[in-house]
Amino acid sequence: MNWLQVILTVVTIGSIFSVVTLALNLQYARGGMINFGVVAYFAAGAYIYAIFTHPAPEGLDQYIIGLDWPWWAGFIAAGIASLLFAVLTGWPTLRLRGEYLAVTTFAFAEVLYSFLLNERRIGNGAVGLSNIERPIRDWGTIDEKYIFAIVAVALMFLTAWIFRKLLNSPYGRALDAIRDDEGAAQAIGKSAKRMRLQVFLLSAIPIGFAGALYAMYMTLVSPRLFTAEVSFIVWIALVLGGERTIWGAMAGTFGLILLEEVITSLPFESVSAAQNAAAMNHVVTGLLFIAVLRWQPFEWISKKLEKK
């Protein structure tokens, strides 16, 4: 087992998913919005990055648009695409409360998933787009995989820093007021509708960037990378880390990704051993989940960190 490789993967994937967890933390823990379709914004970013940077179709390709633009144009487009998808989905739904919003966002994500799966002209349907442009070559003597990890970590910290500034300002306080009691907040002139939409749109942008980074890292976009499981992983990470803390959101995500990566990178002698390990992965995740909910270690750690 190559520990360095495992650590690098955990850092890169963990950082990418942490961005999504941070966005969800903003939406749910502060904005009071339950988004069970968070994967859709992630997928929108990834697919738009792929479409913008992919060369024009040829031979057996079924997709019809490949703009072959440089990576940075695709990266920016990914953020914008996620934002636009948030406008499209947020505008009509954000007046819904609690579980109704949860169901609606989940449905949006499922619609997008089945659209990507069945409309082959977008991204080759189930096959997906492979050989996604990877802009980062080796920089001097530094290997590409380190650069990737660094970029992912940087995106994570940038997102965390911006959200933190936002939430520690009077804006964050007004947002808390709206989540605690919408009517009472309206009675002191806070527009719940406006602020909720702002938060929803704002948090979608880094999800789009994370999606683009994920597409670069995997060099592949395909519907099966963007199933509802992604939404649930992010939600579990948020619950593990404890709501309302930025460090907690990151700690929860890293804990979860670490567990998955360690199990998948264990060397197995046979197929059945690998299958057992995959099954055990779920059991261990479940047990860990119960243990964490009982003792809330990440929340404790992150509170310690934030006090400093």
Binding site: K165, P170, A177, D181, A184
Partner: protein, 261 residues
């Protein structure tokens, strides 16, 4: 004199039943600088009237004009921004904020704009607002509670907190829904002093209250509501001697006597 609040022929139905307005609709107006008591039996529609005025309910017909602006269909936050403040019958506070933040958040704070949150421009206002909030706490008698969690406050203290949160908005008109319910005599005295002080500064006040001993010392006129309709209006003396009010609300002649000073 120009009226601060004009309610004209307002009706409100709930599921086909007319809760407010009766046949002709409810009409009344409020002078700027007045101190009005809104009284009536339980279920007569006092809180519904407050909800209509503050935009939490929309009337089925009629119009409401506040400070020269038609607010009949305006959303609550827009009405609040025009200077109409209200409290709720059961105190509503923000449980995740500290006591002082519960008051500061009440202000119309330019620092709450999204674009200011990154620049740190809000910091100057913050100090000012904090200072203002502390001063208000002194007046409502909650100074010792400033840094506590809202969950630690008693029912009466929550009520004062809600009043304090509206005070920092410096409203033109404040609607108080049963401000003395569950408040001990000492805090009630604080509240009365506070209301007299803000009234002297020119704030118009409408208060729903069942505690007539508290109310009649403060207000300069009364509106009596019964079954969603205006039963009577006038000075406290006139209301006390109005036979309809005496039978519908005060509970007979003997009870009415006890409210004489």
């Amino acid at each position: 004199m120009k009226k601060l609040l004009q309610v004209s022929n307002v009706t409100k139905q709930f599921g086909g039943l007319r809760a407010i307005g009766g046949y002709n609709g409810l009409s009344f107006d409020v002078d700027p600088g007045s101190f009005t008591g809104l009284i009536g039996p339980n279920g007569s529609g006092k809180s519904t009237i407050f909800n209509l005025l503050s935009g939490f309910l929309k009337p089925n017909s009629g119009s409401i004009v506040f400070d020269g602006n038609d607010i009949t269909t305006a959303p609550p936050e827009a009405i609040s921004e025009r200077g109409l403040a209200r409290t709720f019958q059961t105190p509503r506070t923000f449980s995740s904020l500290t006591v002082i933040d519960n008051v500061i958040v009440g202000a119309d704070n330019p620092g709450e704009r999204l674009r200011f949150s990154w620049t740190g421009k809000w910091r100057n206002q913050e100090a000012e607002l904090k200072h203002e909030a502390v001063e208000i706490f002194g007046r409502v008698g909650l100074s010792h509670r400033v840094n506590d969690r809202v969950g630690d406050l008693s029912g009466g203290e929550l009520r004062m907190l809600e009043v304090a949160r509206q005070m920092i908005r410096k409203p033109k008109l404040i609607l108080l829904d049963e401000p003395t319910a569950g408040v001990d005599p000492k805090l009630q005295q604080n509240l009365a002093d506070l209301l007299i002080a803000i009234h002297r500064k020119g704030t118009t006040i409408i208060v729903v209250e069942h505690n007539l001993h508290f109310l009649l010392d403060l207000v300069d006129n009364l509106l009596v509501i019964n079954r969603g309709e205006l039963l009577a209006k006038g000075s406290p003396e006139e209301i006390r001697s109005n036979p309809e009010v005496v039978s519908a609300y005060l509970g007979g002649q003997d009870a009415a006597q006890s409210y004489k000073n």
